[in-house]
């Protein structure tokens, strides 16, 4: 892989390649400067990591559609980037991206190898599992149905026992949340997002719209009582004081108004 492509590949940034290289080199000088304070070094390190983030995205994109969310891959890839920033030796005379790319990809691959498994499974079984899935796909095509463990054993050249073991180990490779998206692209859409439910708010819209004219038709005092009671959350006694009538009267008025509204609402429906 050439050292330039990943750094700018597909990025809309107008930064010319040379400027990018220059920025990177400057930051490395700042990082390696023996006179720099810890703070300055830290700033340079942050700057380097940020500068090369598109490289991580580029690397992570190669591992899309393998069942892991793209964001997670970017995250582990970034760890690889940070490691390469810390380990990079400017005296070697190679471009940073040349050095960083394998480190980042290595980190992502390691993630698939180590973190994909919910429990630690022996290497032999991990490989067997891969063989089984490949053979299964193959045999399913040929037979027109899914293969039996015996057929798989014959194809792979192992015992039925081992196939059963391999199938069992399959259960340990259950890394994804049930809620994970199908990961067609970088979008963070989840299965839950695609499940539809009745939106209660929709019904409220209807009620709100039909109650509007009814409220407008109320006399000002009734409207005021409703407002004080349900929007200012005042008690009936407080309202009574505010309006200058007895609490009993407020209660009666409120009951009447609500009954009236309810009735008219039924009629309009």
């Amino acid at each position: 892989m050439s050292s330039e492509t990943p750094a700018t590949g597909g990025q809309p940034e107008p930064t010319p390649l040379s400027a990018m290289k220059q920025a990177s080199a400057d930051l490395f000088i700042a990082l390696d400067n023996p006179d720099a304070t810890d703070a300055e070094r830290s700033v340079a390190r942050d700057g380097l990591v940020r500068l090369h983030l598109p490289l991580v995205e580029h690397c992570a994109r190669r591992f899309r559609n393998r069942g892991e969310p793209f964001e997670d891959l970017v995250q582990v890839g970034t760890i690889g980037l940070i490691k390469s920033v810390d380990r990079f030796d400017t005296d070697r005379g190679v471009e940073f991206s040349t050095y960083a790319t394998p480190t980042i990809i290595g980190e992502i691959k390691r993630y698939f190898r180590d973190k994909g498994w919910a429990i630690r499974v022996p290497r032999r079984l991990q490989e067997l599992r891969m063989q089984i899935s490949a053979a299964t796909a193959d045999l399913t095509q040929g037979l027109g149905r899914s293969p039996t463990p015996r057929e798989l054993a014959e194809r792979i050249g192992c015992t039925v026992e081992e196939i059963i073991e391999g199938l069992e180990s399959n259960n340990a490779y259950a890394t994804l949340s049930l809620d994970a998206g199908d990961d067609h692209d970088d979008s963070a859409s989840r299965l839950l997002d695609s499940l539809g439910t009745d939106d209660d708010q929709l019904e409220h819209v209807e009620i709100r719209e039909s109650i509007k004219p009814l409220l407008d038709a109320l006399d000002p005092r009734e409207k005021r009582i409703l407002l004080l009671r349900f929007f200012k959350n005042m008690t009936q006694s407080q309202i009574a004081e505010e309006i200058g009538v007895s609490q009993m009267h407020v209660s009666r008025l409120l009951t009447r108004t609500l009954a009236q509204l309810r009735e008219s609402l039924q009629e309009t429906r």
Partner: protein
């Protein structure tokens, strides 16, 4: 008829995984396809989930396997004073009947059981 394999476990959902593993292992020897095996695994788990909530405290979950070439019948049973029989249009029942060739439940003499039968796709 005497079962070919019989398994007795505590009535605790934690042991259902043992049942599932046993089922997979048996079905693999009977030449079921791996899709069938996966279906059976889910079906056995589902059947256990049906009977377990009704089980009497401290009783056993008994699982019997009747094996024939290309066919397996599995009965999952618990003793129960007051079983909660599955609704035929309930989700769990739908899953079971979709996964298996035949499914039935029974409640006799204080024993609540779910029986499922599955034929291998190979022989079909």
């Amino acid at each position: 008829m005497r079962p070919d394999v019989e398994l007795r476990l505590p009535v605790d959902s934690a042991y259902v995984s043992v049942l599932r593993a046993t089922t997979v292992s048996l079905a693999a020897r009977l030449d079921f396809t791996i899709d069938d095996i996966e279906d059976l695994r889910i079906a056995v788990g589902e059947a256990s989930a049906m009977v377990l909530p009704s089980a009497d405290e401290g009783s056993d979950l008994v699982c019997r396997y009747y094996l024939r070439p290309g066919e397996v019948s599995i009965t999952v049973a618990v003793s129960s004073a007051d079983p909660e029989l599955p609704e035929e249009d309930g989700f769990a029942w739908q899953v079971l009947s979709a996964l298996t060739t035949d499914t039935s439940t029974s409640f006799e003499n204080g024993v609540f059981s779910v029986t499922l039968t599955m034929n291998s796709t190979v022989n079909a």
